[in-house]
Amino acid sequence: MSETVFTAQNLTKKYKQLRALDDVRMEVRRGDIYGFVGENGAGKTTLIRVLAGLAAPSGGQITLFGKDSNLAKERRRIGGMVESPAVYPNFTAKENLEVCRLQRGIADKGSIQRALETVNLTYTGKKKAKNFSLGMKQRLGLAMALLGDPEFLILDEPVNGLDPAGIMEFRELLRKLNAERGITILISSHLLGELFQLATNYGFIHRGKMLEQITLAELNAKFKKQLYIRVDDAPKAASLLAPEKLEVECLPANILRISGGPPSNAGLVRTLVSGGVAVEEVVLRGEALEDYYMSLIGGRH
């Protein structure tokens, strides 16, 4: 059983009447890339702020690296970027990192250059952070988080506002940090397609409640498969498939969406063709993370 890096037990955070976190239980293990999934306002950032020490919980307990007291000391092993990256706007990238280096008590000045190289931000020279593009600020935020070789990286919506190339670059960088340096990563996002390409474990939060924690393998096993068939006469095809006791839905452009575990794709096609329906295209598609999340929250927003 791998070591637990972070746990939350019955964690609650109240803002007057609002329960931003409601009895949350959560566990992140060493080596995980933990995708923290939830819509805006679900409680992702609140939990991360409690974890990072920016806000105090109203109830419950958190542990870091197995310790539940003197968390400030344990937070020295963490690197974080909460919401949009917080940087000193009038400082250059190097100066921002120098402040971080001093605050973290890191003696090695070479760590600044290494962090800049890791995020590919060595070229900014005397340009001040306030003049950086959003992507550059995100990379600077990540460099600041990586300073001092943290064991646990907390990233809250790190790809917000990045262009597709930037998102891809960021994803590859996080994969590399996880694989090569063994850094455990907690990453929150509402870009579920992006998370699905990266995370090895998932936690689904909705209205402050943790709905489910699941591994990637478990998630894949749970995904429903759907068959899309394009025919020349969709109503006729649907009536032909009625005895099969499947969920058949007619979509525009004579497309049928069939779910509920078709026994055999070939058998279905044979049934349609023998009934005089021309089959033009057959596509098998897995349920997406979005669909799974929506099914968990019952389609509510």
Binding site: R49, A52, G53, L54, A55, A56, A72, K73, E74, R75, R76, R77, I78, G79, G80, V82, E83, A86, V87, Y88, P89, N90, F91, E95, E98, V99, C100, L102, Q103, R104, G105, M144, G148, I154
Partner: protein, 246 residues
């Protein structure tokens, strides 16, 4: 703690706001000094006021004493600096960088306030000193006043109390514009209380009342300033410890 203080000095060195405030204080001191020495005195001579026994002749040390007593200018400078240096980090969300690096909150605030108090010193010194030099360029320095050292010590303690009040406002309000407004407004309101004799028994316990007595204040001055400084910093520390940071 030493490295945190070094980090704060690095921030101070890069602070454009601090540099501008320092230059403003120096410019204002020179302006007042030259204006008094070269314009007001000449105007008084032309108006024949000297013959009536009225003189504006101000040598360097006289100007120094006058400007040390100009508490309102220093209050404004300290208010603006505290807003920039302390509450500015709430707006930039940069306190969080230290917190999720595992630095305890009290250390974050203690290092910040230490450097802030040290940084105020050159700012409040340059104003009277530049005024003194400007005045001395025409009338010389004159003789050193007997009570100069005592006045300087009172000035240090008095402005440390003002700075403590501004730290409290910065942690409480967090917004740069709001902090400047609250500090200048709050100190001005306390100053206005001094104008009502009926309120004097209560008003004399305020630091702004005592600051008006900077040239003559005794034990009462000492007590009010120390209590203001300590209470303000303790309250600021409690508020900072409980603050929800972004």
């Amino acid at each position: 703690m030493g490295k945190l203080i070094r980090a704060e000095f690095l921030k101070l060195r890069k602070s454009l706001g601090y540099k501008v405030l320092f230059l403003c204080a120096m410019g204002l001191g020179l302006f007042v000094g030259f204006l008094t020495a070269y314009v007001v005195n000449d105007f008084a001579d032309v108006a024949g006021m000297g013959e009536l026994g009225i003189t504006f002749t101000t040598n360097g040390f006289m100007m120094l004493k006058n400007l040390i007593n100009d508490t309102q200018t220093n209050v404004i400078l300290i208010s603006i600096f505290s807003a920039i240096f302390i509450s500015g980090e709430f707006a930039d969300r940069t306190y969080g960088i230290a917190l999720y690096s595992g630095v305890p909150r009290w250390k974050v605030l203690a290092s910040k306030v230490s450097v802030y108090l040290i940084a105020i010193l050159p700012m409040i010194v340059i104003y009277p000193v530049s005024g003194m030099l400007a005045a001395a360029s025409r009338y010389g320095f004159g003789t050193v006043p007997d009570d100069l050292l005592l006045l300087c010590l009172r000035c240090l303690l008095g402005f440390a109390a003002v700075a403590g009040f501004c730290v409290l406002m910065s942690v409480l309000i967090k917004n740069v514009g709001g902090v400047i407004g609250a500090c200048i407004g709050g100190t001005s309101a306390l100053t206005i209380l001094n104008l009502f004799p009926k309120l004097e028994p209560a008003a004399k316990f305020s630091f702004m009342y005592q600051l008006a007595q900077i040239g003559s204040g005794g034990w009462m001055f000492l007590g009010v300033m120390i209590v203001t400084l300590v209470v303000s910093l303790v309250l600021a520390a409690v508020l900072f410890e409980r603050a929800e940071l972004k």
